[in-house]
């Protein structure tokens, strides 16, 4: 028997009372790390566009490099956003039902935005 109240199985799984261990923390840091080069690329790439009109944006997204980088930026940034908003909601919303509903809504909305963003990039990039 262990000398504390947690079972040996619970300790070896290492998931803690929240049942998901350090998964949330770790993914938030991984996406943060990925967003360091992506943010710099995104800001300076957009800022240095010769023209931000329709033709300029279509030309920019028609470059395979820009399209792939933009797809990655949309997916990673919305994943990071969703993880961060979840923390804010869990910190401030004490009513269990409201909290769970809000977190689920945030996750669904972020997924919808990511898919819409990726579809839009591909549509412009492939000229459909």
């Amino acid at each position: 028997m262990s000398d504390n109240l947690r079972t040996p199985l619970a300790r070896v799984k290492g998931l803690g009372s929240a049942k998901d261990g350090v998964e949330h923390f770790w993914v938030q840091r991984l996406t943060a790390l990925a967003l360091i080069p992506l943010t710099l690329w995104f800001c300076f790439s957009v800022a240095s566009l010769p023209s931000a009109d329709y033709a300029g944006v279509v030309a920019w997204l028609s470059s395979p490099f820009n399209a792939v980088m933009m797809v990655i930026t949309v997916i990673i940034s919305l994943h990071h956003t969703q993880l961060g908003l979840q923390v804010i909601i869990e910190d401030y919303v004490s009513c269990h039902a409201t909290r769970t509903t809000s977190v689920v809504a945030i996750k669904f909305a972020a997924f919808l935005c990511a898919v819409l963003g990726v579809f839009s990039i591909l549509k412009v990039a492939l000229g459909a």
Binding site: T39, A47, S48, Y54, I88, C113, I121, V124
Partner: protein, 126 residues
């Protein structure tokens, strides 16, 4: 540490002068929340471009207006602040710079780097 005096210990928020590090901590969460709207705007612009010339022109018209430019400036400032302070957080996560003196110093570096990156980006853009 011995604690002999009987004064209340927790900060009284109406009279307590928040240290710079605490203000920046609040700003990190604030800009994070604001950047959710920024991410939404990014997807919206992409969707407008996918919608064709007309829908993009409407979005472009908004972004080029004074209010649109203000929104974009707030977006870049929030993004760069969250970016710089996020790197500070990642350094803390690997155990670097956690003492009081280092956090005061890195706070000032974050403010300087945020201003520099924001100004540089707008100099490139305009």
């Amino acid at each position: 540490m011995t604690w002999n005096d009987k004064r209340p210990m927790s900060p009284h928020l109406q009279v307590y002068k928040l240290p710079l590090t605490a203000k920046l901590s609040i700003l990190h969460r604030g800009t994070g929340a604001a950047l959710s709207a920024g991410a939404l705007l990014m997807v919206w612009v992409l969707a407008a471009a996918a919608g064709g010339e007309e829908s993009y022109a409407a979005m472009h018209g908004f972004l080029a207006s004074w209010f649109g430019q203000l929104v974009l400036f707030g977006f870049t400032f929030s993004l760069y602040y969250h970016f710089c302070n996020g790197i500070r957080h990642l350094l803390w996560d690997i155990g670097k710079g956690l003492d009081l003196e280092s956090t005061e110093k890195s706070a000032k570096v974050v403010i300087g780097a945020t201003a520099a990156l924001t100004i540089l980006t707008w100099l490139v853009a305009l």
